[in-house]
Each structure stands twice: as C-alpha cells, then as structure tokens.
Symmetry: C4
C-alpha cells in the first residue's frame, strides 16, 4: 500500500520534496528519531473501563480535540496553492492547533482568519525588530502563544540542491517584504534569554521555547521566561547526531518537574508513538512532515484526514493500553 | 525446505492466510515476539540422568502430555472444512489441551465431543448475556476452565483487507445466531473485575485471564478472582509495540509468586522456546498459528503432528539441558 | 579470496560437507559463537618488549608449540582417504595436540603411532564396557589424557540429510565392530559423575570434561574427578541457543578459580580470538572445522598449514597486544 | 554524490588505493571506528551567544586554525607526484598542522620548507641510530614536536597485495638510503620507555606518544617522558578488534587527568565527530585517509579544501551545540 509520503513524492516537484524531507548532515537523526519511539516497549493495563476514551486535552489552557498538534514548517505554498490557508482549515476541522511558521507563504492575519486555535512560531532574527513586529502582529491577530525556536542560531547545512524558483506569493510573507539576500533576515546567533523575555512582554502572550533536548537547557528556557518547552530535534534538520526526542523527553520532563507543559516533536507517526510521548510526560506532540505530505496530496481535506487519522489511532492506543484520556497515562506504560 | 507456514500459504485463500497471519499496527510485536525468545540464551546443566525425560504435566490439575497447549483462535472453519472438530481431534490425539475460541465455527458441544481436555475461551461482549450463556454451555459440555480474554476492550486495526464471503457454517456459531452487524456482539470496553467473578460463579469453573504483560496487572486479575493468567501479546494483534511475552514473563511470574499458574503464548516455535518459558516459570505455553497452518495443510493429522513435533522438540531440549521434566527447570537455565 | 571452507566445500561430497558444517536446531549457536569472540574488544598494551614472542605452553603438563589444539570430530575418513592418520601427522608437524575422537575412522593405535601428543575423546555409551575398553586401549597406546564429552546425553537433531554410504574403512572403528543399529553404541543418557571417576581409574589418565557452559557445572565436573574442563557448545551441534563459549568462559574460569585448567572451543578462527580466550583465562583453545576443511583440501600438509597459520596469527596478536607468551595475558586485554 | 574516497579510487592505481584503504586482519576495527563516533549521541546547549565561533586552538603551545590536524601516513608520493610537499602546502594553507611520516617520500627538510607548523613522526627502528638521526634532522629543520609511534612493535598483516613498483623518488627518503630488505629498517619490537626519553633528549623537542587505547598505557607513556598522547587504532591497521578510539578516549582523558594533552584519530569524518572528540576531552583530532584521497584527487588544493571543509563543519557543529570554541565544550554534550 502506497504511503502518504510516497503519494506526496509523486505529486511534488523533486526539489520541494527534498526540501521538506531532508535532514542535516548525514541524516542520522532523521532516521533515528522514529526508531527511538518504537524502541520504547509498551506495557498495557487491563480490566479498565475504556467505554469512553477521549483524546481531548488542553495546551496552555487552550482546548484541543487531540494531543496531536501541527508543528511549524516553512513555505506551505510550495506544497499547495492555498498554502497555510489550507493547512489552517484542515487543522481547524480536525480540532487541532496550528503552529504557524514565521516563514509562512501567507500573511499571518489571513492564516489566523482560517484557523482554529493557533500559535505563532518566531525566529529571533539578526534584525530583532522584524521578529518583534511579527510577535505584535500575531498577538493582534489572536494567536494564543508564541513559539520561539531556540535551536537555530543559524541554519545547518543540508545535502539538498537549490529550491526551484519560488512563486512570488509563496515567499513574500516569509521575506517580510525584504530582499532574500538581506542579512537581517538571518537567525540571530546571539539569541538569548533576553529575547524570550522581550517577545513575551511585547506580545503579552505565553512563550513556548522550541528545540530543547536536555533537562538543564529546558530549565534555562523556563528561567528566561518560557511558559512551556518543546523537546525537538528540529526534524533532524539542525545538529545531526543529537539524542532522539523520545530519548530526551523523560529527562526534560523530570527536570521541569511540573513547572511547565512539555511538548515533543520528531518522528511521531502512529498513535502508539503519541501514547509513549504522553506516558513519558508530554502534554502533546507536534507533527510536520505528515501534514505537509497530506497538504500536497489533498489540501485542507488531506490535512484534516491525516490529523483525524492520528487522533483515532491515538484513541485506539489509549484504549488498548487501558487509558481513558491523555491525562490517564503514566510512566508505567513504558519499559525504558 | 518449505516451512509449514509456506505450505499453508499455498493452500489457503490469500485473505484467510492474511487474516490469520496479520499483526496489528506496524506489526512490530508480531516480528519481535519470536526474536525475544531467541534472545534468551540457554545455560544447560550436565551430568544429570536424563534416561527418562517426560513432558507430561498438569494445567489447573488437568493432566496433559505436554506443556504445549492449543491457543484459542477464531474461525478454524476458514482453514479446514472440519474446522474445530479437526483441531480438537488432533489436539486430543497429541495429548494436548485445546482452548476453544468463542468465535469458533462450530457449536462448542460438537467440539467438546471430539476433544480431549479443553477449556473455553470467552470474550465479555457488550451484551454480557451472550457471554454468560456460552459460559454455562461450556460448563455443561465439560470444559475444565474458562479463558477470559482481558486484552480486547475492542478489536485493534489490522492492515488486512476484508475476509472473503464466509461459508454460513463457518460463522453461524461465532455469531451466536445474531446478525454480524449486531453491536451486542462487540467486545465490552468496560470489561472489568466483576466480569471475571461473575463468569466464575455462573460456570462453577476456574477462570484463566488471558492477555497480561505486567506483574501488577496479573495481580489485578488474580484479585478479581482469576485462578491463572496467560502472558500474551494476543499474537501481536492488539496494541502494537508491547513488550514481547518472553520479556514480560519473568515479571509476571515474580509478581504472582506462586499464587496461581502462569501460562504464556506469543511466538513460541521450538522446543528451545518452550524450555525457556518453563525455565522462567511458565506452567505451559500455547501456540496458535502453527496449529492453524497444520490444520490447513493436513487437518486433524496435521494438528496432531505439529503438536507431537513441538512436544518431541521440547523433550529433546529438556534432556539436552539436563532436565528430566517440566518441573525440573529453573531460572538458572537462562541468561537474562 | 576463496576461504578454506569454500575450498573444502568444493572438494567434499555435499552430504559430507553438510555433516561437518551443520549446527543443531535453527543453528543460532553456530552463527553466534564466532561473533561472540569478535564482540570482545581488545585493549592492547604498549611499550613492552616483544622481541621474543612465544606461543609455546603446556596442557596438563604436556608441552605444545601453541595453545591451538585439534578438537575431536568424528569420521575424518569422510574428509580424506588417510583419515585421522593425516590429521595426526599434520597436528604433530605443527607441534599441536590432537584430541582423537572415539568415532574415528581408524583404530586409535594406528592414529597414536602417527601422532605427536594426543588425547582420547570418549563418549560414555549405553554399553559402558565399550567406553571402558576404549579408555584402556587409549592408555595403552600412550594417550596423555581422556576427554569425556558431557554435553551429549543423546545426539541432537540437525537439519541435514542422511550421510552417503560410508566406505567400510571409514566407520569400522567408530562402530567398535558392532552393527550401526546396535543401541548399545548410543550415548548413555544417564552419564554421571561416577563415569568420570571410573574412566579415570580404569585408564590411570587425567580426565578432561568437555562441554560445560556454566561455572557451577564446571565445578560439578571437577568434583566428579575431572582434572580440566573444556568450555564448549559442541560446535553448535547440541542444544541450540546456548550461551556462546566466549560468553561462558569468564564465568567458568572464575568458578574454577585455578583448581584446574580450562580450555575452550567454539568459533575460534583468528589469532585475535585465541588472544581473547587466553586473556579470559583459557589455557588453550581447540578448533575442529578449520582442521577438517584443511584435511579435505590438502591432507596432512593442509592440517599442518592451518594450525601453523593460526599459531602465527596468535603470535602476532600476542605481540601487537604487548604480550610475550600465553601466560603473559590477562583480563585487562579485553573490554567486557 | 560521489564521495572523495570514490573519486580517489578512480584516479589511484588499485594497489595504491588498497594500500591506503586497508585495515588489518578482518578489518573490523576499520569499520567500527567511524560508527563508534556516531554512536555517541549529542546533547546540544541552547540560548548561548554563538555570534563568534572559533575553531582556533593550540597544540603543545603551537597555534592552529583548527583542531583538525593531518595524521602521519607513509609515502604520499604514491598519491601525488608532489608527495608530502603538496600535503604540507595544503595543510599550511588551511592553517593546520602536518605530522610528517618517517616513511615520507621526500626529505623532511624539503617538507619543512613547504609546511606551516609541523611535527615529525618517528618509528623506533631496530637500528635505533636511524631513528635518532631523523629526530636530530627534524629538530634542526624546525619541527615543533616528535610523534613516536608506540603501537607498532612490528607491522601487522593486511589482506592487500604487493605494492606496484615504486618510483625511486617515492621511496628513497622512506628507506633512509638503505636497501628495502635491510632488517635494520624494521620497527624495534623492544620499543620501550627508554626510547621515548632518549628521543626527547636528542631532539630537545616535546614527544607525543601515538597509539594508546587505555588509560594505564597512556600513563605509562607519560611516565616515560611523553608530553602528550594520541589515542589511536593506527587506522585499524595494527591489532584488529581493538576498542575504537571513540570508546577509549574518555578512559584515557580521565587517566591523564590534565597532566598532558590528549589527541585522537581513527574514523573522524565530520564536524560532529570532531565535536564529540573535543567534548570527551581531546585537544585535537588527526585525519589521514581523507587527506590522502584529497591529495590524490587535487594535490595541495585538495588537501587545503578537505581540511577547510572539516574545519567549517566543526565550526557549525560547535555553534549548533551552543559552543563558541574548542575549549567551550564538555562531557555534557555527549550521551555515553
């Protein structure tokens, strides 16, 4: 049976597929991250009443139908003519939350209009004014939180060729009206604690630090003002060879010790993976590539379907493990 | 040399072979469960008198010629025209015990008439009356015990297509005279301790809880009235990614601590596997797919032969390890 | 480059090659045993004077040019017309010690005449008188020790076809003049401590117990009168799935604690393997299949060359690890 | 994309490629050594200022632009007509340090004239006078240190054929004007502590002991007068099956405990590998084969480019891990 990824590969220009699919370096993290979830063996409970299994939960107080959220990813316009508008619609229809990339193909206000609950992802750029401005716009447009990426002081090399000439509408928003060569658009290599604090103050929104793989680094983010953290390998696209998210998650959860919500992304592909993440203490997971493949293949409906599918698979996994909700999980479910 | 599975694949309709062969999800448990037995290295004893090696033992007091029992599996009528009658005959001729599925193709009374010692497997259905009725009928027909499946609050998804149109006689008993779409035939998602107690009282039979993979969950079953437990992954057909039975067995045996007999199924294919299970504290093992393949290939004689073969292989493994009986084993035989 | 095994396969009848090559059961031990040596990483010493590296040592007081001995194996007459006479000559010319199988193709007295130092392997047969008689003949013919196989209460099944019709001269000695179907020729399943003691007394020779994989079982053999033990998986030809010799060796050495010499066989194919065995406390190693392949390909000269080659490779490994003799080794050389 | 090694294979005579590429024995160490780096998972820091990331460091007080040095390797004249002159030029242009082999194709004085910072590698030969003379010449020619190889009491066997007839100019220097068959040119098997001390005194230069894989052996070298050690498997070309350098490094660093600088070679191929080595306490790494491949493909420019590439990759890895310099690393970056 053809997988969703194979179907997307068939419809996307090769350069675009490679752009989304690639990992950094020798792509070891990319391969390792899904395997790391599978390596965690499950220990199901029995004789529990699972007549009613819900996947509903909240993230930073926002109700969502499922602990499966849409991770930020650049330039959805490369995958589908409607770009992030389609993704927002699909995510909304699935009851999920959409984390909109700062490198979106569309103005965030347009995306916001189509979206259900959404958060705004931000890079701190060399010209911090640009990031600050997006933070303000996101707050005005109704974002519930800012997701500040902390694992990109600069973009890692990836073994992919150049992107095809991009349609103007696919990049104008990502460029914030500037020239692609403008150095001010690059990530700030001196991104620090002060940035988290400032973006939080400017926007009046909670801040989620995305891209930690260590307990001590998670605490550093919280100390800098973050309200939550995302354990992430950046899709295997930054430092190659890092610990898979599934391995790092328990350490981060233990360090955070309930002070903040912890989310996780990286290689989550099945309901069993979501169950493991919840059992290890994640509040929710985020997925990127499956959403992009679905977007490429079937637009908003595809996004909705892939999210609904993962949610249904998560519901089954919860029930088969004897759990009736995301909160009704625990470390006992996993053999580490 | 063609394996039994390959010979069965050659004679069965592809949909039927797939129905029996499939695991749930990504089928990781299905693959892992046999490998988990092999991973346990054996530590043989020497200079023991093994002039007389017996495989005979008892299960819940019932004498059997071998610790290799026939696990419950649905719809033997798909594999052979005589269905469970042939299986019962073959198991009886091998001196084994047959656990009859509640989803059998034949009335349990007919199977009982052909069988040697037998137990009746039960699902607790949404309409508990149906399950209760089967329990009563099984007791009346001479079953020695009830095997209540506790790992199916609902049936997991499997990547197999629809079954072929079933011959009426292959399913009428499984349906208990009802319409296949009748929701009351579905497994009860609120299966609980009270069900074990009630079925035990109704039938006056000992109850075996099938489908535990944790020590604490085994105790939960015993506390609910179970007289024995079966460590099982449900053939890799329920929650994918669970601990293999070979890994879970020692934990369960330790928790049960002699209060009840512990059996195990899942990937047992050689006498060496049986030896490992006994060494880790299992009273007996159950096998399903090898019996189905043998049934498909050669009916009752096939079932007898595959069971006799496993028993002979178990006898050899016992003797080569310096053990003269199933009871003459222990953890010293296995390097964990 | 064609390996010795490949060359032997080319010259031997397929049934004979299979007879020598086969392991028992699913042949897992056969495959695992060489890998287990390789898994032990070496930790070389430096700045040692290795101007003179000797491989010479003694086994039970008998000087040998190398810690690489010839393991017992049945029916060398299948591999070469001169059978054990060629093996004995080759081993003698290499300065090695030949353990003559009780199932040899030639009378032990003829082999003894051609051999350098040699030991006689014995099975305790159902008719113990036969074994006793061979023990007496071996003592008379000048054997330095008896090697009593303790891991064959009966012969395990192997997935090989029947042997080709054997030339009369290839089997007459193995049969001790009896009919092949004579049950008295079978191994005694009640082989015990008393047998070791009796054979020792009858022969007046030291007794080596061959086929232990546990420390406690090694002590059982010593307590029964054995003067040394051989850690062995019987070439992967008895209980399939046992711990590889390389894994069992340290446990046995620790248990024996210097009371007796410990030898090891099973998958030793390089000088680095020999070095690991010595480092873990083995006094010597034994090899069977490489000798049989060499015998098939080039008779006595082949046997001498393969032994000389292994000895030279052992000398290199000793020197490169900073060791000047078999005794100048230790556990520090291996990372366990 | 064709790798550098593949391009080198295409331009080199097969015997020369094999000579450089081969490992000893079964070549297990050769394969294992790069995998051992990859097995060490990285734990990046976040929210650090990496606006300025430098790879500059010092080795024994000598400033270098990068912790990636050029390991000694024999006979560069086989790879390129300019031999070590090209390597020296390329290394100098990359700001690296070149460890010149005693088996160079060119007189060390010529190499020194083309080189940036350089060290002289020495074998202690059976005729110690030859080694002493090279040590004196190196000191006179401006070497900053001597690298004395301690893991070659003799050369291990490698499964490669004979080298092609060498051009006279490629070997005359390696032979030090002697006949290739002259036994005095062979490595001294009684290489010992006194040699390190004497070479240090003769040359007045610091001495680096190359080829240790254990903490205690590193201390033995320091006690003999070494000023630094190189953890090395000799490119997998001496004792096959040793611990990979990546595994041995932490033990050596712990034993040395700051008394001396520790370098490492063996399978380092990416900036992530360099980062791991630094994190585990190495002061610098050395690479050989990538330099030889680059030399074969593109001479001095190739050498410069491959070193510049590794340095850039190291800079990226440092920055992505939140480190601003080689010294700003630590064990926290690696999950062991």
């Amino acid at each position: 049976m053809e997988t969703l990824e194979e179907r997307a590969r068939a419809v996307l220009p090769p350069e675009v597929f490679a752009y989304y699919a690639a990992g950094a370096g020798e792509q070891r993290t990319l391969v390792a991250q899904t395997a790391a979830w599978d390596d965690l063996l499950l220990r199901p409970r029995v004789l529990r009443d699972v007549s009613t299994v819900t996947t509903a939960t909240t993230v930073l107080g926002t109700p969502v139908a499922s602990p499966v959220l849409v991770a930020p990813a650049a330039l959805h316009g490369l995958a589908h003519a409607d770009g992030e508008l389609a993704t927002a619609t699909g995510a909304r229809d699935a009851g999920s939350l959409f984390v909109v990339s700062m490198r979106a193909s569309r103005p965030l206000e347009q995306i916001a209009a189509a979206a259900g609950p959404w958060w705004q992802q931000l890079y701190v750029l060399r010209d911090r004014g640009i990031s600050d401005e997006v933070a303000r716009r996101a707050a005005d447009a109704g974002a519930s939180a800012l997701v500040v990426t902390v694992d990109v002081p600069f973009v890692a090399n990836k073994p992919t060729g150049p992107l095809p000439p991009l349609p103007r509408e696919a990049i104008v928003e990502a460029l914030q009206g500037r020239d692609p060569a403008d150095e001010r658009l690059q990530q700030a290599p001196d991104l620090g604690a002060a940035d988290l604090a400032r973006l939080k103050e400017i926007s009046g929104l909670p801040v989620v630090a995305k891209g930690v793989l260590r307990g001590d680094e998670a605490l550093r983010c919280l100390d800098a003002g973050a309200d939550a953290v995302i354990v992430s390998t950046h899709g295997g696209r930054q430092l190659d060879g890092v610990v898979p998210s599934a391995v790092a998650l328990p350490e981060v959860v233990d360090a955070v010790a309930g002070r903040a919500e912890v989310y996780v992304d990286g290689g989550v592909r099945t309901g069993g993976h979501v169950l493991r993440a919840l059992a290890l203490g994640a509040r929710a997971v985020l997925v990127a590539r499956p959403v992009l493949w679905a977007l490429a293949v079937d637009g908003a409906d595809g996004v909705r379907d892939v999210l609904d599918g993962l949610t249904a698979d998560t519901r089954d996994a919860l029930g088969l493990a004897g759990c009736s909700s995301p909160g009704d999980t625990g470390r006992d479910l996993v053999r580490i």
